[in-house]
């Protein structure tokens, strides 16, 4: 594959110190997705194969390149300021998003999510 590649274990700044590239690699999103509130389409994504609308306020995303384990950190926000969102179940190839309104009721909303960690 004809892609340029820089291999380094450490990045060092002239005055501000250095950082292990492991933190850069692990700290970048391995997958992300923004989906419409009713779960009928994916607006923007990376490393996702499908979205499953599994009920009101519930969306499950499946990955193309699995995560190495199921203990990865997942972040999720709602596109609606009156809703809260969480990644409430993890597997190496899927994660589920749940959206609640401020009263705690399941409510459809635009989902924005991403996963950090290592891929398999």
């Amino acid at each position: 594959m004809a892609l340029g590649k820089i291999k380094a274990d450490t990045l060092e700044h002239s005055t501000s110190g250095s950082v292990d590239t492991k933190f850069v690699v692990e700290g970048s999103f391995k997958t992300y997705a923004r989906c419409v509130a009713d779960g009928t389409s994916i607006t923007k994504s990376f490393n996702i194969s499908s979205l499953a609308d599994t009920g009101t306020a519930l969306q499950t995303l499946t990955l193309t390149n699995a995560m190495s384990d199921a203990n990865y950190p997942g972040v999720a926000t709602s596109g609606d300021s009156s809703c809260n969102m969480a990644v409430d179940s993890h597997a190496t190839t899927t994660y589920r998003l749940v959206s609640n309104n401020n009263a705690g009721s399941l409510t459809d909303s635009i989902t924005q999510s991403g996963l950090l960690g290592d891929v398999a």
Partner: protein, 158 residues
């Protein structure tokens, strides 16, 4: 655009290449399935970037690779994947048609017990349809079910 020779290249790197070089493809196909009698019907939506990879060919691993990883993860002592190389080193699948890609996606992302005997009951457990055939509103979303009127008799056109 010709796909580079990707066998042996990390799948994540292939996806980066695809994101950079391929136009996403919004499919009109949707897969409606029921994996539990106690739950509502679920609707699977293909990802546009994934669909672009499937139509392009030479990027995605064969679907059996995902089954192998799922078997590993189902083991009670599973901690992390040790056979991720299957994703990267197995010869990628050739270009698919959109219909073939949907079949692949069903076998990858729907539970196996749904698609392996999708037509063994009184009604199908799985239906491929167009986006516009889904209900127009989300009313009673948690009560949606596949219609019992759909025939599973293969001699009858659905």
């Amino acid at each position: 655009m010709k796909t580079p020779e990707f066998q042996g290249t990390h799948l994540f790197d292939r996806l980066c290449w695809a994101k950079e070089n391929l136009d996403s493809v919004q499919s009109d196909y949707r897969v409606v399935y029921e994996d539990s009698v106690d739950e509502c019907a679920k609707i699977l939506v293909p990802d546009p970037n994934w669909m672009a990879c499937a139509l392009q060919g030479g990027i995605l691993p064969p679907v059996w690779v995902y089954w192998e990883l799922a078997k590993d993860e189902a083991q009670p002592d599973f901690k992390k994947h040790t056979r991720g190389y299957l994703l990267h080193n197995t010869e990628p699948v050739e270009a698919m048609t959109e219909e073939q890609a949907i079949e692949y996606l069903i076998m990858k992302d729907c539970p196996q017990h749904v698609w392996r005997d999708w037509d063994s009951g009184n009604k199908p457990k799985l239906v491929i349809c167009r986006k516009e055939q889904l209900p127009a509103t989300r009313e009673w979303r948690n009560a949606w079910k596949i219609s019992e009127d759909l025939a599973t008799d293969k001699t009858v056109a659905a």
